[in-house]
Each structure stands twice: as structure tokens, then as C-alpha cells.
């Protein structure tokens, strides 16, 4: 039986915007295809057995939590980088996306050192970028849209070689000015989109599941599921993107 081990950092700290929904989506879509999924929650200071991890998920956190988590992650960044180079998939949303870069400066001016996994940095901007967003993503063929909700004060800028996750159709994206959203390096994906992101973008969920299966040298074929409900939710969110601003 095919098995995937998903590590969730840190369910008690980085869990701001319904991030649990991403884990549930991965779990349900694997389960429906008879793939066994183990979800391992890790607390700060706890052990991540990277030799055992097929997919790493990191959510969003408040500034005060993020600081705590950044310090903890810094201690393991060599192992983490090694796994990334070997193709371990990571999904990092919002706060932890910012942690993937060189640094993150809070609105108060405090500098939080990043993990330097992706060439990007984050600086504070005036006002938060909030609302439904729609992004065109070409990680798979044919390209498909990602619908989600963004809410961030930080403006993320990508290095010249860094590939964005997608192009903003509606909403703000990384910084509200260059129309990029998120970033990709090898199988690491960082994004500002929550909502939660994966439940109403099932193609993204399946992409991650396939990467996780491949990483563990397992058959990565995924049978097609009935996604009527998910697609309806995706369409609602797409329609709302760019329409209303709080």
C-alpha cells in the first residue's frame, strides 16, 4: 500500500488562517485513492525526522509566534536544505512563506532571519493587502487558476532567478506591484494564498501528492475524483476575487 508521511509544522503555532484545511485536503484526497497518510504534528523543539518526511507543511502565524518558530527552524536549517535539494516537497503559506527567504522585517522594524531556502526577502509596507485573489499557475499543463484569500502586511520581493508560483489575475500577490504571487524552488512552494488554499484548488493538492509519492519512489498515478463541489467553491472564490475590498 502506498504511504505518505506528512509533517505539519507547527500545528499549535502556525495555524492562523484555516491552515488545517490544507492538511485535511491532502489527507482526504489521498485516502479516497487508497493511499495511506500519516500526519505528524511537530511542536517547536520537537524532532522532524527528515528521512521519514515525504511532504512538509508550514502554515501562517502571528508575528509573536513566527519569531519563536523562526528561531527553532534556524537550528535545523542545514538538514532542511539538504532535503530540499533532494526534492522533498514543502508547502509554506503566508507567515512561513516569508520564513523561506533571506529575512522578514516586521511592521515594528524587527528583523527576523529567514531559512534562505528561496531567494526572496520580505519588507513591511503601508497597510495590509487583504482580499480574495486569483492567480494563474503554470506548474502543470494546461495552466490552471488558484483561488484563495490573502492578508499580509509584508511585501515579498523575489530574486532575479526566483520563479513565482503564478501571475496575479486579481488581487495583490507578493507585493501588490509586480503581479507575481508566491515562489517556487525545486518542489518547495511558498504562497500568500490561504482560504484554505488546497480544498478549493484540488489540482494543487494532487500536484503535491504526486510530488510526495515520487519523492518516496512510489507509483504516482492518481485516479480522477469527483470534484464538482470543490470546483463550485473555486468558481465562487474566483468570482469574488478583486470584487470587494474590506
Amino acid at each position: 500500500m502506498r504511504t505518505i508521511n506528512i509533517y505539519h509544522l507547527y500545528p499549535g503555532y502556525l495555524n492562523l488562517y484555516g491552515d488545517r484545511g490544507n492538511i485535511l485536503a491532502l489527507y482526504q484526497r489521498a485516502y479516497r485513492r487508497g493511499i495511506n497518510v500519516n500526519i505528524i504534528g511537530v511542536d517547536p523543539g520537537g524532532k522532524i525526522d527528515l528521512g521519514h518526511c515525504d511532504l512538509l507543511f508550514m502554515g501562517g502565524g502571528q508575528d509573536s509566534d513566527q519569531k519563536l518558530v523562526a528561531e527553532d527552524l534556524k537550528k535545523r536549517d542545514r538538514d532542511l536544505k539538504h532535503a530540499v535539494e533532494n526534492g522533498m516537497p514543502i508547502l509554506a503559506v503566508c507567515g512561513s512563506y516569508q520564513l523561506l527567504g533571506h529575512y522578514y522585517t516586521t511592521v515594528q522594524g524587527e528583523n527576523i532571519a529567514g531559512l534562505e531556502i528561496i531567494d526572496l526577502y520580505t519588507e513591511p509596507g503601508r497597510g495590509r493587502l487583504i482580499g480574495n485573489a486569483l492567480v494563474k499557475c503554470s506548474l502543470w499543463e494546461p495552466p490552471q487558476t488558484l483561488a484563495g484569500f490573502e492578508n499580509h502586511a509584508g511585501r515579498t520581493y523575489l530574486g532575479p532567478e526566483t520563479k513565482p508560483l503564478g501571475k496575479v489575475i486579481k488581487g495583490y500577490g507578493n507585493n501588490g506591484s509586480d503581479k507575481t504571487e508566491g515562489a517556487v524552488y525545486k518542489n518547495v512552494i511558498g504562497t500568500y494564498l490561504h482560504g484554505a488554499l488546497l480544498p478549493k484548488n484540488p489540482w494543487m493538492t494532487d500536484y503535491l501528492l504526486q510530488k510526495a509519492l515520487t519523492y518516496r519512489h512510489q507509483d504516482n498515478h492518481l485516479e480522477i475524483l469527483d470534484d464538482f463541489v470543490e470546483i463550485q467553491a473555486h468558481n465562487t472564490a474566483s468570482r469574488l476575487a478583486g470584487l470587494r475590498r474590506p
Binding site: A25, G131, K200, V229, Q232, T236, L240
Partner: protein, 489 residues
């Protein structure tokens, strides 16, 4: 009863004669009142526009009106429980013999408060009430505190709520702190001792703080997925430990590495039992004196609301027997487990708006016996919060264990499909979930599914609740909230 005289209140009253004949103030009141009438003729309970227009003409309108109150005003803020706590305090004050103004939930932003005061004022801009009991949104708390100069405040709790509007918890905490700093020194502060984010806001040597908290055994159900929104010590940022944890981050906490711990509450709940008639039988202790009362409200979250109201009454030195009598007469507030009967069917409406509140509502309804029909309605209008990701932090997985008791589940509202996905990924059979985005049609559909003597639980978020309430009114059930207000007076 005897009231301590507050010198500040009198001083403001003397300066008022100038204010009364201030043409700007009158223009503001009139325009506010006229717009209020117009919106009601149009069938809306408009609480935003009248206040906004009035504030445009006279930014000091709330201060001007509030200063006329014979006793003063009280502010209730915090994430959950504001509406119920406000209603309970209102009941206690009425039982004492006072005349009160109180606002409805949804009018708890700066302009909503202005609307409420304008509505109670005469066309000449006079107020004749003793107290204004005002629920205030955490974000508007500093501004409203500054303008109405309250005699006392109540802070219920801080949870994650409407992140799109407030930003993060740190933000809400700062807003509440700012409001507290603007308070007159003589004003009392009734504060939830069990919420570690609140006790840390005030320096310990502060006077006039009345802490309240639960002194019960830990609940038997395990700690759920919501997570604790507050995890670390506000003084030294180490992870907090608990002797008892009631729900979310509320409980008997202490910091293992510094001196920070739950303050000893003056107002305690020492006993709690649910009666056969769905009331809560309570044993309370107020500054060493015990008394018992039965309150027709359910749920752990309501225990905190009751304690908050008692703490506020303690701040006003209201005798315990009056408090006990007033609590017995409590009724669920607008859309808070409000009950209706229609064609031998029971309809119970409970507002859901954030993970902690929704989890407690789910737990309370699943504790009831028999078959259950569910209608969950989720909008994402600005008043609801446009970010609905919190749905993923609600333990809808609780429903799985009760699947055989679930007769029908309908989801509705602008984000009906998101809700459907949420339930699908909770593991429920998506084929059994009805999706009807239109609230009106969804209500009628659900009522058709509900069998005679069955129970239909409607769980809407804020604007969905307002809309469905109107539908229920059309069926001859309940009253619109402005009519209810008129009756209450």
C-alpha cells in the same frame, strides 16, 4: 440604591447647556433620526448609515449625548459573548430600577454606538436614561471609550475573529490595551481572569480591577483542534502551562519560567449543572459570599458571560439578590440559541462567527437528544468578515459521530460551496449535503425536511442571520430587532 457620586460626571453635565443648543449637534441628530426612519420604512434595520451621517455633521455626537446620562455608561468588549453579556447587564440594571439604553450587536462600531444614542435621544437632543450599556467591537474600543468616558468596562476574552478586519491577535490585544489606558482612573474594569491575554494587559498594581473566572473541574471532553490562540506568556514569551483548561486558551494558566499566573478572581463560579429544562443551575461566589441561581442559558461560553455580568454588577455595588433574580429572567439574545416554533417544528438559531464560538455551539447542540436537521449559512460580506478560512478551524468533524442522527444538512449563503467542501472534507457524505445559495429558499427547503416535532438548528454567520431572521418574521415568528427593542422599553 446608593451610588457613589463621580465628580467627573457632574462637571460634564454643567457644560452641557452649551452643547444642547449647538446647531451642529441638532443637525446631526435630526439627519441621523430621519435616515433611521427612512431605512426602517425600507425594511432595513439600518444602524450604520444614520450614525455615519451624524458623525459627519458632529464628530463629538456620542460624547455630547453620553454625557447626559444620569449615571453614565458601561462598555462591554472582547471577541465572544459581548451581546449576551450586554443583555445580562441590562437585565440586572433594569431589575435594580434603572432606565437603560443598550445597543444591538452589529451596531457595535463607532457609528453604530452613535446611532444607538441618537435613536434614544429626543429631537431636541436630550437623553433621559440612567445608563447606556454599550457593546463595542474590539477595534472601536479605544475611540468609543474616549468619547463616552465609561463608568466601567467589561472585557470578555480575546479569540481569533475576522482576521481581515483586525489583523492578528496581537493587534486586538493592543487595541484593548489602548482603550484601557484611556479610561478614567475611577472606572472599574471587569476582566476574565481565565484568559491569559487579558490579565497581562493591566499592570498588577492597577486599582479597580474585578477579575472573574471558573472554579470548576476540567471538562471531560478532550482538548479539540481549535488550538489555543494565546500560547505564550505575555511577560516572558515562554509557553504557558495549565492546571485546568476549560476551552481554547481559557483556564487556570501559569508561566513555568516567570511569576505570571492567573490572578485570583473575586467573582467565581464554583458549581454548574444542566437542569432537565435546559437551564444552567449555578453556584456563584462574589467576594466570599455564595449564592445559587438558575439561568435559562446553556453552554460553557455562557458561564463566562454570566460571570462577566455579575462582575460588572459587583463594580456597581448591586445587591446579590437583585443579581440572582435578574439572571433567572434572562432570555437568549438575538440569534444566540434563539428558539421559534413553526408548524410543530422547533427552530433554534445560533450565530456562528469564529472557531471557538462555533465549536461551543456545535458541542451544545450535539448534546441534545433526538434527530437533528441542520442549516449552515455562510456569507462573506464586510460585516461578516470577508475571510472565511476560519471554517477550517471549526471542528465540523464532531458531526461524524452523530451522522445517524442527522436528518438533513443544507448549506447556504454566498459561500455555500465552501461550506459544502468543508463538510465533505470533514468526512461527511457530500451526496447528502444540499447546497442552496439563496438563503430564503434554503430556509424553506430545510423546514420541509424537518419532521414534525423535529429540531432544525440554523447556524448562520452575521449577515446571513439578519436575512433569515427577516424570513422568520415573515412567517410570523419572532420580531424584528428594532421592534423587539421598542417592546423591551
Amino acid at each position: 440604591m446608593e451610588e457613589r457620586e463621580k465628580p467627573g460626571v457632574n462637571k460634564r453635565n454643567n457644560g452641557l447647556s452649551n452643547y444642547l443648543f449647538n446647531p451642529r449637534l441638532l443637525v446631526a441628530i435630526w439627519s441621523g433620526k430621519i435616515i433611521m426612519k427612512l431605512t426602517r420604512i425600507l425594511g432595513r434595520g439600518g444602524t450604520t448609515l444614520p450614525g455615519r451621517i451624524a458623525l459627519f455633521f458632529a464628530p463629538q455626537i456620542s460624547a455630547g449625548l453620553a454625557s447626559q446620562l444620569r449615571k453614565g455608561s458601561l462598555i462591554i468588549t472582547g471577541t465572544n459573548g459581548k451581546t449576551t453579556t450586554t443583555a445580562l447587564i441590562n437585565n440586572i440594571l433594569k431589575e435594580t430600577g434603572y432606565k437603560c439604553i443598550h445597543n444591538q450587536s452589529g451596531s457595535n462600531l463607532t457609528w453604530g454606538v452613535a446611532s444607538t444614542l441618537i435613536e434614544s435621544a429626543s429631537w431636541l437632543g436630550k437623553l433621559h436614561e440612567d445608563w447606556a450599556v454599550i457593546e463595542v467591537d474590539e477595534g472601536s474600543f479605544p475611540e468609543v471609550t474616549k468619547s463616552v468616558n465609561p463608568r466601567g468596562i467589561v472585557v470578555t476574552n480575546i479569540f481569533r475573529d475576522q482576521l481581515d478586519r483586525f489583523g492578528e491577535i496581537d493587534h486586538i490585544q493592543n487595541s484593548i490595551k489602548k482603550g484601557m489606558e484611556l479610561l478614567p482612573e475611577s472606572s472599574f474594569k471587569a476582566i476574565n481572569a481565565d484568559d491569559p491575554s487579558l490579565a497581562g494587559i493591566q499592570p498588577q498594581e492597577q486599582k479597580n480591577i474585578i477579575y472573574y473566572g471558573l472554579e470548576l473541574d476540567s471538562p471531560s471532553y478532550p482538548f479539540q483542534n481549535t488550538g489555543r490562540d494565546i500560547k505564550t506568556c505575555p511577560l516572558c514569551s515562554k509557553v504557558l502551562a495549565y492546571n485546568k483548561l476549560y476551552y481554547a486558551h481559557l483556564g487556570h494558566y501559569y508561566c513555568p519560567s516567570c511569576s505570571y499566573r492567573r490572578p485570583e478572581p473575586e467573582i467565581k463560579l464554583t458549581g454548574y449543572q444542566v437542569t432537565s429544562t435546559n437551564s444552567s443551575e449555578l453556584k456563584l461566589n462574589v467576594a466570599g459570599k455564595s449564592f445559587k441561581t438558575t439561568v435559562p442559558l446553556l453552554g460553557t461560553y455562557n458561564l463566562y458571560n454570566i460571570l462577566a455580568a455579575v462582575a460588572c454588577a459587583r463594580g456597581l455595588e448591586i445587591p446579590l439578590n437583585i443579581i440572582a433574580t435578574a439572571l433567572q429572567k434572562a432570555v437568549p439574545s438575538f440569534g444566540r440559541m434563539e428558539q421559534f416554533h413553526y408548524k410543530e417544528k422547533n427552530i433554534i438559531m445560533a450565530l456562528v462567527k469564529n472557531p471557538v464560538g462555533a465549536n461551543e455551539v456545535l458541542r451544545t447542540i450535539l448534546n441534545q437528544e433526538g434527530k437533528i436537521d441542520l442549516l449552515i449559512a455562510i456569507n462573506d460580506n464586510i460585516a461578516d468578515g470577508t475571510d472565511i478560512s476560519w471554517l477550517w478551524d471549526v471542528d465540523f468533524e464532531q458531526l461524524l459521530k452523530h451522522q445517524e442522527r442527522l436528518n438533513n444538512i443544507t448549506v447556504s449563503g454566498i459561500r455555500a460551496w465552501d461550506m459544502a467542501v468543508r463538510l465533505k472534507y470533514a468526512g461527511l457524505d457530500s451526496g447528502k449535503i444540499e447546497v442552496e445559495e439563496n438563503l430564503h429558499r434554503a430556509l424553506h427547503l430545510s423546514l420541509q425536511y424537518t419532521k414534525p416535532n423535529g429540531k432544525l438548528f440554523i447556524l448562520p454567520n452575521y449577515t446571513a442571520m439578519l436575512e433569515m431572521h427577516k424570513d422568520l418574521n415573515r412567517l410570523g415568528l419572532g420580531k424584528s430587532y428594532w421592534d423587539r427593542e421598542a417592546i423591551n422599553k
